[in-house]
C-alpha cells in the first residue's frame, strides 16, 4: 500500500516542488529586477539626487564602494537611509564643452583646441550621450554644435574657431546652465568641461549669479585652467571655486593632454549616484557633503549644495 502511494504521488510531489520553486524564483527575480530598475531611475518631487566620487588615501577611485560605506550630511542632518545607490555610468551624459576663445588665452589656444579634439574623439561616449560645444569671446557665447558633436565635420568647425576679444566667462556659464536646465531629465547627468583662464572681463552677470545658475543646473564642472601651472592668479582662484562648488575638478593645461583627458574620463566612469528623501529644513538652500561611515581614509567629492526651490530635485518619474 505504502509502495503504491509513493509510486503514485512521488512524481506529482516532485513536479509541484519544482514548479513552486520556479514560481517563487520568477517572482523574486521580477521583484529584484523591478527593484534594481527603480533604484536607478526612481525619482519624485521630494527626492535628492547626488552624483559623487570616492577615492582612497592614494587618490585612486574606490571600485567596490557599498552604500553603507558613506553617509550624506544634508543641512547638518546625517542621512544613511538611501532610496537608491548605483554607478553613474549607467545614466546618460549631457556634456557641454565650453571653449574660451578670448584674446587672453591666445598663447594656449592651439593646445586648448587639441585637448577638446581629444576629448571629443577619444572619450568612450555611449550612443545616447549628448555632446555640445560652445565658445565664448567678445560679447557672448556662441553655439558651435548642440547635441551631437562627435562628427568629423564638427571637429573641423572647432579647429577653425578664431580667438580674440574680451572674456564673458560668467555670461557663458549662465547660458550653458540655462541650456542644461531647459533640457534636464531625471536620468541624465549634466557635465560642463570648461577651458578658460578664469579672467572674466566683460560679463553682465556677476560671479555669484553664475554660480547659482550652475547650482540649479546640477552640473558638475571640470575646469581645464589655461593659466601657467604654479602661478597664483585671480583667474585660477575663480576656476578652482567653480570646480569645487559643483563637485567637479580643477585641472591644469600644463598637466598635458593625456592627463586632462584621463582625469575627466576616469571620473565620468567612476562616479556614483545616490538618491534619498528630501530632508525637512527651514531653508531652501541645502548644503551637502559626504563622509565615511567607518574607513576615514576614504575621500568623497560632490557638489556643495542645492536649492530646494530650484530644479535641484527631480520632479518627473519616468
Amino acid at each position: 500500500m505504502r509502495n503504491w502511494l509513493s509510486h503514485r504521488f512521488l512524481p506529482l510531489f516532485l513536479l509541484t516542488t519544482v514548479f513552486a520553486g520556479h514560481l517563487i524564483h520568477a517572482q523574486t527575480t521580477q521583484r529584484d529586477s523591478e527593484g534594481s530598475s527603480a533604484s536607478t531611475y526612481r525619482s519624485s518631487a521630494s527626492e535628492v539626487r547626488l552624483v559623487f566620487f570616492a577615492t582612497d588615501e592614494h587618490n585612486h577611485p574606490v571600485e567596490g564602494l557599498q552604500q553603507d560605506d558613506f553617509a550624506v550630511v544634508d543641512n547638518e542632518r546625517v542621512i544613511r537611509d538611501f532610496r537608491s545607490f548605483s554607478r553613474a555610468d549607467l545614466i546618460k551624459l549631457d556634456v557641454v564643452v565650453l571653449i574660451d576663445a578670448s584674446e587672453s588665452v591666445l598663447p594656449h589656444f592651439k593646445e586648448e583646441i587639441a585637448d577638446v579634439h581629444q576629448l571629443i574623439s577619444q572619450s568612450p561616449w555611449n550612443p545616447e550621450d549628448r555632446l555640445s560645444v560652445l565658445s565664448f569671446s567678445g560679447m557672448g557665447a556662441q553655439i558651435v554644435c548642440s547635441g551631437d558633436c562627435r562628427s568629423l565635420f564638427i571637429a573641423d568647425r572647432i579647429a577653425s574657431l578664431s580667438a580674440g576679444g574680451a572674456t564673458p566667462l560668467f555670461d557663458a556659464l549662465e547660458v550653458t546652465a540655462k541650456i542644461l536646465i531647459e533640457r534636464k531629465q531625471p536620468d541624465v547627468w549634466p557635465v560642463i568641461i570648461l577651458f578658460s583662464d578664469g579672467d572674466d572681463t566683460i560679463s553682465k552677470a556677476p560671479f555669484h549669479e553664475a554660480l547659482e545658475k550652475i547650482q540649479a543646473s546640477e552640473a558638475q564642472i571640470y575646469v581645464v585652467d589655461l593659466n601657467s601651472l604654479g602661478q597664483a592668479s585671480n583667474g585660477t582662484a575663480i576656476l578652482q571655486r567653480i570646480a569645487d562648488d559643483s563637485g567637479g575638478r580643477h585641472l591644469g593645461i600644463g598637466q598635458g593632454d593625456v592627463e586632462v583627458f584621463n582625469s575627466v574620463t576616469s571620473d565620468l566612469h567612476s562616479a556614483r549616484l545616490v538618491t534619498y528623501a528630501l530632508p525637512e529644513s527651514g531653508s531652501t538652500f541645502h548644503s551637502v557633503r559626504i563622509l565615511p561611515t567607518h574607513n576615514l581614509t576614504l575621500q568623497f567629492r560632490c557638489r556643495r549644495g542645492y536649492d530646494r526651490s530650484g530644479s535641484s530635485h527631480s520632479e518627473n518619474s519616468p
Binding site: V73, V78, E280, L291, P292
Partner: protein
Amino acid sequence: MSRPFPLIFLFLSLPALLAGQIGIYQHGTVVRMHMGECIGAGHGFMVAFGGPPTPMSPEPCPEYTLVSDHVVFVIVGRMSNSLIPLAQTIDFRFHKNELAVRVDDAKHEAKFAIKEMTVRSDWDRVQRHIAERMKDSEDHESEVRLR
C-alpha cells in the same frame, strides 16, 4: 632593533583595547554634523574642569550631535579634520573631561570636547516641536502658493 615598534603600538592602542574588552563603551548615533567654531578659552560645557585653555583654531571644527539612550551630547573636534565615522552606531566613553570616540575599526580613539549635554527625553520633545513647526510653515507656504 625592530622590537620597540610593536611595543609602542601596543602601548598606544592599549587604552582602546582595554576599554573595549572591559565593555565600558557606550553606544550612540551621530544624527547631525556641521562645521562650527572651535572650542577655545571660555567656552564648553566642561571648561571649568578642562585645565589650561587651548588656543582657538582659525579653521572651523566639526561639531556633532551624538544621541545615546539617555543623553544627547553636542561634541566638538579639536581640529578641522577631527572626524567621526558616521556609522549607524559608534562607541564612546568619557575620558577625563572629554568624550573618547572609537574610530577606524577600534584601532584608536579620538577625543572630542563636550559642548552640551541634554537629557534624551527633553531633546526628543524639542525635536518633535521643531518638526511640527516646520510642517506648519510648509503647509502655510503651500496654501499661499495655491492662492
